[in-house]
Point group: C2
Chain length 267, copies 2
């Protein structure tokens, strides 16, 4: 962010907590988005290791002008555990990436990653409803995306994860919530799907394999990522070469900026 | 502060901790001063009550990009207690208003209020050396100003405080350090002094008395304040009416901005 910011003793403070932290964009983007509403607010990065999260949060609790928190990797599950109250989807996912104060100072959490994926898709002119979706990764981000895709009306959701127990646990919980129709395990073969989502870190390192077989991609598939660095992963490179509509991890985060801001400022 | 600020995940964070906090100027002024050096830094306010200070500091300790702290009322003595190491003057004063990290992450403290008073005086073209000083207030700010005035070469230092035990304890410590010559108790009568410093809150409220008898002021006296609100206290109004050179509490804080910045950024 480069913009007009008035810092004073009356500025309300927000923090983004992660480890690592240098890559996060929210200090600039969220501060700018809050200022755009005329608010005297700032969001600053906080580099806190997983083992230190509880200790940091105990200190943050007593800072009376610290109004909200964005939790990023690896803190989203621990952040949910800090919440006195949370949205229904955060309860289902047992994770939270945005926290704001209740009147008594305790934290109220929400999990917006899934909405970011779907919102970014819609912003790109692609509708999730009616699609057959293959989701790779049943972790925190994957679970959130799975839930949002189902709520957005995909007719099929196949989940692929090398950790079969984790995959099956997510499938069982989704079926319990949404009914079993169209929900099941997938593989690394995207043939026949019309939406492919990668919610794993596979693709961050130069020598990573692709999360799905890219030789089975075809142009009618929407292909989305959660990875933000590199900006365009090898999976997206392959998809774009075929002419597939795609969404970067950055696009997913951009798409949830307003949602996050409005939640943090009081909903 | 209104200026060009680039917030990112790599921004190094500083906080000013106080209760109340809305009146502090350092978020804008210090951020601007750090940016002026080309540093990607921000200083944000933290509203923390006295009873919560230790808990906040325990959390701050684990934030790896939180590089420094300004402590203001009522935290200066508690901040010193958090320091693993400190400057010699902070040890003498048992208080700290600026803290930066040691290599092991622990805090190194300094107390710059006295230097602010003297530096502001010098910036206004007035030399402390050779003056006969009357200081009102033997608390945290008063003690720091007393020490800096002696180090700056005043030939006499009289301390007035309604709490005689507090006054005598400060006098005893100053004599132990500097020798007894010229150090003793004062009163609310400024007659015969050439430097008058108020280091008490007397003058903040409209119905406060003045900290010294203003009918005994005369034009050769330099008159300084620690109070920042009102900007010009009744004491300073009276002094200016006589043509005395004066220093506001704000001027004192402005004068220590660079000193504080350079300490916070690593000395």
């Amino acid at each position: 962010m480069t913009g007009q910011l008035s810092l004073s003793g009356e500025t309300r403070v927000f923090v983004v907590i992660g480890d690592p932290i240098a890559q996060v964009k929210s200090p600039g983007a969220m501060t700018e988005a809050m200022i755009a509403l005329g608010r005297n607010c700032v969001l600053v990065p906080m580099h806190v290791a997983a083992a230190d999260f509880g200790r940091f949060m105990a200190g943050a609790a007593v800072a009376r002008n610290l109004d909200g928190i964005i939790a990023t990797v690896p803190h989203k599950f621990a952040a949910y555990a800090q919440c006195a109250t949370a949205t229904e989807r955060a309860h289902f996912l047992r994770s939270a990436n945005i926290l704001r104060r209740n009147n008594d100072g305790s934290w109220h959490g929400d999990m917006s990653d899934g909405e970011g994926f779907v919102g970014g898709m819609r912003a790109a002119g692609c509708t999730p409803a009616g699609r057959r979706a293959l989701l790779v990764g049943a972790g925190g981000a994957g679970s959130a995306i799975a839930l949002s895709l189902l709520e957005a009306g995909v007719v099929e959701l196949a989940v692929h994860d090398l950790d079969a127990a984790r995959r099956d646990a997510l499938l069982a919980r989704l079926k319990e919530r949404r009914g079993a129709a169209g929900i099941g395990p997938g593989s690394d073969d995207p043939s026949g799907y019309t939406l492919v989502a990668n919610a794993t870190p596979t693709g961050m390192r130069p020598d990573d394999p692709t999360p799905v077989r890219v030789d089975r991609l075809s142009p009618e598939m929407f292909v989305g990522e959660v990875i933000t660095a590199p900006v365009v992963t090898p999976l997206l490179v392959a998809a774009r070469r075929l002419g597939c509509p795609t969404q970067t991890g950055g696009g997913m985060y951009d798409a949830q900026l307003e949602l996050m801001r409005d939640f943090l400022l009081g909903g």
